[in-house]
């Protein structure tokens, strides 16, 4: 009996390879809090390590979770660099004194419209349009037209056919909310959000999920950033990006140095490295099919053009203010989210 017990327990005991040691703030190391597609995070880890010999480790958390994590670790940060993720969460973190803004060496090479918008708050890493990922096949089956505006998403005929990220957890969801509020004003905007709420089949935690649901045909429309939609389309999902005609929001993906970073010197090296055109190609190759911030980085042909969309004049300053952000999310959570669907 004991031998038999031993046999199955042995596997576990065999893994007792000593008490794990704590990764001290050793030299030659940098810790990333990575918010974009994990494939990009892995590529950065691999290539930066290859280029510099610095041991690179990352944890992937979506923007909201990453912000929560950085707040929780305020007194004693583990991470050196917050890589990627929606700009407004970086903005909030910077406003709360969790991040340290500095201009990297390549600041002058970055797209001026981006640097102008966020100077003093964070370093732009990429930018992309925000709109719908549409599954034409399902819409045809349902004999419904492709929605062209945010307003049309509120039409009851799309009931149960929409997926959107929960603004509580997802920067993508927050961008949708602020885009609508910036187009229509707060009160009518919330009326529209209420109408859309009644059509929503699924709120997702992450901004990447709705396009996935639309791609698989679980829903017809997934509110999403263009890069996610293009990425799905490249993987043969029947989905395409639609920029809403009543106003298209966009994001500026961010790169920031964590205040009190344990490996500050290596963090600065990583930031400079990440803004080189050669490194920035890694994004589009690994899921983040968007416009990279360095003007010298080529843009892939299937990336939706900013020139073709009716951009809203996105007020990053206002909607990056923690108080404004919290108030909007709170209002949505209390007034719209609980309504039975």
């Amino acid at each position: 009996m004991v031998t038999r017990l031993g046999a199955s327990a042995l596997l576990i005991v065999g893994l007792w390879a000593g008490w794990p040691t704590s990764p001290a703030a050793a030299q030659g190391r940098v810790n990333l809090l990575c918010s974009p597609d994990p494939a990009w995070c892995e590529a950065v880890k691999r290539d930066f390590n290859k280029a510099t010999g610095i041991q690179t480790e990352f944890v992937r958390l979506s923007s909201g979770a990453a912000l929560a994590r950085i707040r929780a670790e305020k007194a004693n940060p583990t991470f050196d660099v917050w890589f990627g993720g929606s700009g407004d969460s970086h903005w909030v973190a910077q406003a709360e004194g969790l991040l340290e803004f500095l201009r990297p060496k390549a600041w002058g090479e970055l797209r001026p419209n981006l640097t102008r918008a966020v100077d003093g708050h964070y370093i732009p890493l990429y930018t992309g349009l925000h709109g719908f990922g549409v599954n034409d096949k399902l819409l045809q089956e349902k004999q419904l037209p492709v929605p062209a505006t945010w307003k049309e998403l509120g039409d009851p005929k799309y009931k149960g056919l929409i997926a959107m990220p929960n603004p509580n957890t997802s920067g993508t969801g927050y961008v949708m909310m602020t885009t609508i509020v910036q187009i229509y004003g707060e009160e009518p905007g919330f009326e529209l959000l209420k109408a859309i709420h009644k059509n929503v089949a699924q709120y997702t935690r992450s901004g990447g999920d709705p396009s996935l649901l639309a791609g698989r045909g679980e829903v017809a429309v997934g509110v999403s950033f263009a890069n996610d939609v293009v990425e799905r389309a490249r993987k043969a999902f029947p989905i395409r990006f639609v920029a809403p005609k009543d106003g298209t929001g966009y994001e500026i993906g961010a790169l920031s140095l964590v205040k009190g970073a344990p490996n500050r010197a290596n963090a600065l090296r990583l930031i400079d490295w990440a803004l080189e055109p050669e490194s920035q190609k890694l994004g589009p190759q690994n899921g983040e099919v968007s416009v990279q911030s360095n003007a010298r980085t080529p843009v892939a042909p299937d990336v939706p053009r900013f020139e073709d969309a009716k951009l809203v004049d996105y007020d990053f300053g206002k909607y990056g203010t923690p108080a404004v952000r919290d108030a909007l999310i709170k209002r949505w959570t209390e007034q719209i989210f609980p309504i039975p669907r």
Partner: protein, 724 residues
Amino acid sequence: MRHAAPAWWAGLGLAAFALAPWARGVSGWPGSTGLALAGRTWAAVGIGLALLAGLGLGLGPWGRVQAGRILVAAGGVGSALALGLVFARGEPFGAGALLSTLSLLTLAGLGLGQAGLVRGGGFVGAAILGASLLVGLFVVYPLAAVLHASVAVGGRLTTGPLVKTVTSPVFLLLAHEALPVAPGVVALAGAVLGLALGSAPVLAGRRPTGAAIRRLVLLVGGGALVGLLLGARGALRNSLLLAGAVGVASTALGLAFALLDARSRLPTRRWLAPLSALPIITPAFVLGLAFIYLFGRRGSVTHGLLGLDTGAFFGPLGVAVAQVMAFTPIAFLVLAGVVRSLDAALEEAAQTLRATPGALLRTVTWPLLRPGLANALLLVMIESLADFGNPLLLGGGVPFLSTEVFLAIEGRFDPHEAAVYGLVLLTLVLALFLLQRRWLGDVSFVTITGRPSGGRPVPLPRALDAGLTGLFVVYAALAMLLYGSLFLGGFVRVWGIDHRFTLDHYRGLATAGLPVLLETARLAAVAAIPAALLGFLIAYLTTRHRFAGRTALEFSALLSYAAPGTVMGIGYILAFNQGGLRLTGTAAILVLAFMFRGMPVGIRSGMAALAQIDRTLEEASSLLRADVPATLRRVLVPLVLPALVTGLLYCFIRAMTGVSQVIFLVSPGHDLATVLILSWAEYGHLGRGAALASLLVLFLAAVLLPAERLGRRRRLPSVAAGGG
């Protein structure tokens, strides 16, 4: 008596105090030792003196009781000083601080035993103190940190967050123009139904007894409550309804499978254990993902097979079905042991008393099963309340308590609000415990005595056997479908879209997934062994010994089970991010989180196993000159070994599949498999996610299957002997 034990511990403590660095990350040995600190602070001097006192008391020719009392004082003051010093200095504790505190605490415990203040000797005293300290530090303290955050904003006490959260419509929505029927009306209907059911016997002409009136009150109240829940909306209502429905369904299924397991005559019986164990070794959200592929709008079953076009499985229904799939095995594991250990002689006795099968069930089998059923129901309801993966993936965004905890922290970063949700969950769990106590009373059900019994279990009636087996086949088919799609998903290019064969996903794992999987396994294994041992120790202490604070220890240990993983995770961050107990960023915090998440499983399985063992075996052992450690080693542990191993494996599996608690705790270089799968899945790398999930499941199956086989043979000699 072993007088040498205090000397050994004091020696160990002194060595650590003098030689090991007191704090981590402080350079300059030997200037960093506790001994060196003694030059700077009186507290360190006190610690050293307390250790020396322990050494003296251990070696000297003092009277037992007298020396014991002094030991208690020296150890108690010394460990308090050590803890105080760690907190006061605010440097993360090192090996010196850890070992010194541990030895001082052990000395106090040995003293307690020696002075006769604790029955059972020094081992029991030290075990009580040690277990209390661990549970206090790693269960109560983090929760206290969260609760502190719920009632104190910026250092001032306030009820603001509590009022704000509880009155929020997300929490509970009782009135809204969009509700189909007013909750009050439904509640009234429920009460009327309860009244009708309860008063039926009275109307039938029977005299109303006290019990009947109590039942009536219960039915009316229960009816009103269920009606209210059905009519209302909001996280509280959703979670309660879900937990109730899933609890009942899973327990019923678990019982059915347990009966088949012990008494079926059909060959499918052999498939029971491995198949029903499958969902245990799978992270809940992975099952949820596979579930969408089968039952979503485009699911292979709903759309492909049945031609339906429905999103019905996005929402509470889908969550409920997925949870029943996932949690039935828990009920099964609890009940299989109970059903197997039913003393067949009792049933034979009842049969000879002319009991019909129905009467047998009602008078003998049911009362014996009841504790197991209550236990299973309780476990499943708690699992359901705390589960966040399935509500998040399948719930369609409908609020549940656990997801709101998660969203409040992760999305709104409002630890105050999250703490209030956590408080509500804890209250619910507490209520479940009280219900269980009431239902079970203080009846003990000892079926393993030193006096062996025999008899063969009565096979199930053929019709029942066939019916239950049918149920099992449906469950098994569903499970096979889920796993089939998961395994296939790792070999096709894009799940659901492009079904051409590929090995790319597995090739990709070699660099990005496999190391993480192995690291996860290592951490989980490191955590599982102390978790199972500590769990059993606490079960033993609380069931077999009486001491002050016993109930408190038992309850706080179970808190770590009841507390939703997300609350525990954020509690760990709040509690262990700074000061003397700083652990964030280390693998140790993951190990501790795993350990204290798995420990209650060890406690419960230990308690169940100990409840089956007649206390006179231990008494006999003690009268044969064995002290407590010897009795544990020679009698109890061999008898409960299967339960201990089961507990250990379950701790390991729970650690490897859990996600909600550790998602906040993963640190660079210590990523975990589940967190990785979840983030891949979120970003649409489904193939790779499926591949890693498949590997994880296969790996855990390799761990679990031998144990399951063992479980089938783990009959004690008394049962195996038959005849008797």
